[in-house]
Symmetry: C2
Subunit: 189 residues, 2 copies
């Protein structure tokens, strides 16, 4: 709880010159852009795979939906979490642009949470990609027939979605990199 008689001119009581030499590089604007990209990638990825439903008549109607595969369900859940996370952290990053005092602390939390989200997105991309590859190529050793020659629209959607999620994973790695670099630049030599 903040004290009621808060000092008005904190800037004067604490000279900024002591903090100045270790201010480090400021990559928060770049951070905001990357987080927005992560949000866009998550949104596109989820929308594309969800809208991939396709029904073929062979000879009775047989639909293909993402929710028929646990791998794709996990994928949609993970990317939704990533999208939500990127919205929250975009605002946190914008807040840090206005309040330089919180930056060092925020960079630490960004790395901690980004690492967790990276694990989730990367594993989800791998899971969906692995199952999609079986759908594309089949596996004759275990008699899993390829399905992408039948469900072409569904497979295009899944493939595009996985590709966009892969892009999202790369963006998350970049986010960790710039946070780590910014944090390191604040350490006195």
């Amino acid at each position: 709880m903040a004290s009621t008689d808060k000092p008005v001119d904190t800037e004067y009581s604490r000279p900024t010159s002591s903090a100045q030499p270790h201010a480090g590089v400021d990559l928060f604007k770049f951070d905001v852009i990357l987080r927005f990209l992560l949000f866009a990638a998550s949104l596109v990825s989820v929308v594309v795979i969800v809208t991939g439903n396709e029904t073929k008549f062979l000879p009775m109607p047989r639909p293909a939906k993402f929710r028929y595969s646990p791998a794709f369900v996990y994928f949609v859940a993970a990317l939704s979490v990533a999208g939500l996370y990127s919205i929250i952290t975009t605002f946190a990053s914008l807040y840090a642009i206005k309040n330089p005092a919180v930056r060092a602390k925020l960079l630490l939390h960004f790395i901690l949470w980004d690492a967790l989200i990276l694990g989730i997105i990367a594993s989800a991309t791998g899971t969906a990609g692995g199952v999609a590859y079986v759908g594309l190529k089949g596996n004759k050793h275990v008699n899993w027939n390829k399905i992408c020659n039948v469900y072409d629209k569904f497979c295009r959607h899944v493939g595009a979605s996985v590709a966009v999620a892969l892009f999202g994973s790369v963006v998350t790695v970049l986010l960790i990199w710039i946070s780590a670099y910014s944090l390191h630049s604040r350490v006195p030599k």
Copy 2:
């Protein structure tokens, strides 16, 4: 390019007391342990999935091998890279225990590389796990029959291998966390 007449006693010309207040927490011993765990996890994971070969006679001999599935081949490749990486970084971490001067720089590089390795391990675990799950449960929507009721030994090996790789992913997240925390503790308040 370094000058040829480099100063011999750098420690004396630059007093250590100025660096002392921001020395930060030292988690390198913990780092070494985690990196060894990552190595052990990678090794066990690769060995277990490679030794899972199983041949069933139904009625002709039909073997199950990890290299029949591109997902498992990627898994073995990724975990081998992670194992090799963990050996190299264990030595780097041991070097940092003896040479405190390199720590801040090394922590930055640890975070950069660990994030990349995390992306690789997590995606490989997801890929192998996704395909293994299809093998375990099948998918009646696309007529992919479950195979783990036939190849029980092979599936046990794959399952154990994926579980150990998941543990390795968690260890890698922890590695990023302690590096980020150590780096943050060196930033002056």
